[in-house]
Amino acid sequence: MIRNQLLVCAGGACITSGEKSVKDVLVDELKKHGIEDEVQVIETGCMGACDLGPIVVVYPEGTFYQKVTVKNADLIVSEHLVKGRTVGELLYTEPTSEKKARTSGDIPFYTRQVKRVLRNCGAIDPLSIEEYIARDGYFALGKALEMTPDDIIQVLLDSGLRGRGGAGFPTGLKWKAAREANGSPKYVVCNGDEGDPGAFMDRSVLEGDPHSIIEAMAIAGHAIGAEKGYMYVRAEYPLAMERFEYAIGKAREYGFLGQSILGTGFNFDIEIRIGAGAFVCGEETALLRSIEGKRGTPSIKPPFPAQAGLWNKPTLINNVETYANIPQIITNGAEWFRSVGSTKSPGTKVFALAGNVQNTGLVEVPMGTTLRELIFDIGGGIPGGKKFKAAQTGGPSGGVITGDYLDMPIDFDTVKDIGTIMGSGGLIVLDEDSCMVDVAKFYLGFTVDESCGKCTPCREGTRQMYQMMERICDGKGRDGDIEKLSRLANVIEDTSLCGLGQSAPNPVLSTIRFYEDEYRAHIYEKKCPSHVCKHLLIYSIMPDKCVGCTACARQCPVDAITGEVKKTHMIDQSKCSKCGSCYEVCRFGAIRKE
């Protein structure tokens, strides 16, 4: 007889912070106290609050224990489960009110969210198909198989669901095109090549709720007339692959994949294809080539994959998060889906909150939520009392949202209007210490590395832009650089073959738009206002504060600091390598950084 269940978050972040050994301690302690038959330990998918990991939730109370370590995990057993005493030191303390939260229902990070895509992540055992079924899993497939393909597509059109991979194309239209396309066989593909730095919502769904994607792909197969599906997942996601593979096996065993599913005569099966981690393979045409076993490079559209995709056959390709919405739309209807979100972008969006923000992790909110709610209410604000500067969205294809737009409802269209994109939902918060030129350079560097090289504007153009950005950050910027960057950016946008190149200049254009003054400071005054760009920094010693302790001179790796004991020291600027070690080591605040 089971009296308690311990849900241990086994999402990627919690595993990295030691979840496996914490779980081992829990299991050992339960045995030691002889209650292993009364208390069940269940590993779940990501619970979202990644900076609080490893997380253990004790039911039926719902007690939320965070930052559990191998050293204190035994307390959950010996105190909570044996003696009925809540372990105070493992509870979450709300930073503003300093109140202890007992359950996730007491933590603003959770209470403000609307979980649809992530509804099962962290709530069920991803390896248990039964638990998925208990949460209404595979009932949507049953319902869909009783509907005509046209009716299914109509529901999707009515729901207004738009592709969560970034572009926001209406999903129903994609399905309709694939349904109407001539050619056989047809294919269903899931894009799990999540490549934006910092984004991990697709991984979390695949790890935490793999059956929802299998169910959605089977529904798609019925809707467009396909019997074969491919799950394309990047090689860097071994756990997602393992759990998805296991889920496929279970789905076959239960007859949700295979021949004559639920006795209807509909056949469908899924195979996993592993990507080698090339960013460009997130672009749909490149991804399809990769599945075919060819080099992953994009091709001109049209023809679109719906007309000529895998092996030139009609192919439906959607992103993981898009598929994760489908079973619930079929079960609950289009009206239900539209009940949250904005008119033109209904439903929810999962964001990966990262950067200079208190609570990092995965958050799911209605479309149209403001940046202020996301960063300050859910994210808990900026750490260290620093000021908010901007949020970077859409990864290397996106741009920045500044403080002026904190109260703007975020959806596909509003972010586009201010020069960035929703993208897959990466949201990097930048505080006042961030240099926007440096940030743009970082993202541009990413696309330079990831450009596949097929078309010249992307291969050569982004590199030229990057060299200019490097020059600017090195203090070698020249008059006219801003104009040149903008002109080159526009050409790359207009002439690149695929989305990667077309969007690659976005980080630069967006930061020039909102922070041109910072570019000008770098180029004309040779100064980095945020003190980030190393080559533009000058370290000097303030004579009134220097006591001549010699600490800096001993620390300096290039012997640029001279001075006698108890006398003011000097930095030789021609030798200084701007490493900042004197600044770190000085106990008298005598080193000036400007």
Partner: protein, 122 residues
């Protein structure tokens, strides 16, 4: 899996196993698990309560543990706190008494007068 009926059966069956994780709104039974409680047999009371609730197919009442309530000579003690009703603390709850409390109070709505040691707001 050949039919939706079969799917429904799996759902019902698994929901029972996941029962501890569902929101339970009707009330809660708190078993004091201090050293004194455990020594007096609180574990047996706890398991008897869970067993009796399961037998009666009651799924909207939470069974949780707490530390010592301070009434060490009356242990094991159990507090029954049903929604919109004053909480009642029972003493000397052995296996049989625990089952009575579930049947008469939690299910029947009648306080088990002879076991009461304290009632809220009286």
């Amino acid at each position: 899996m050949k039919s939706l009926e079969e799917l429904k059966r799996i759902k019902e069956q698994t929901l029972k196993e996941m029962d501890l994780r569902q929101a339970k709104e009707r009330g809660k039974v708190i078993v004091a698990m201090g050293t004194c409680g455990i020594a007096a047999g609180a574990k047996d009371a706890l398991m008897a309560i869970i067993d009796e609730l399961e037998k009666a197919d009651v799924h909207d009442v939470k069974v949780v543990q707490s530390g010592c309530m301070g009434l060490c000579d009356k242990e094991p003690t159990v507090e029954v706190s049903m929604k919109d009703q004053p909480a009642v603390i029972y003493g000397d709850v052995n296996d049989a008494n625990a089952r009575r409390i579930v049947r008469e109070h939690v299910q029947g709505g009648n306080v088990v007068a002879d076991l009461v040691i304290k009632r809220e707001n009286i």
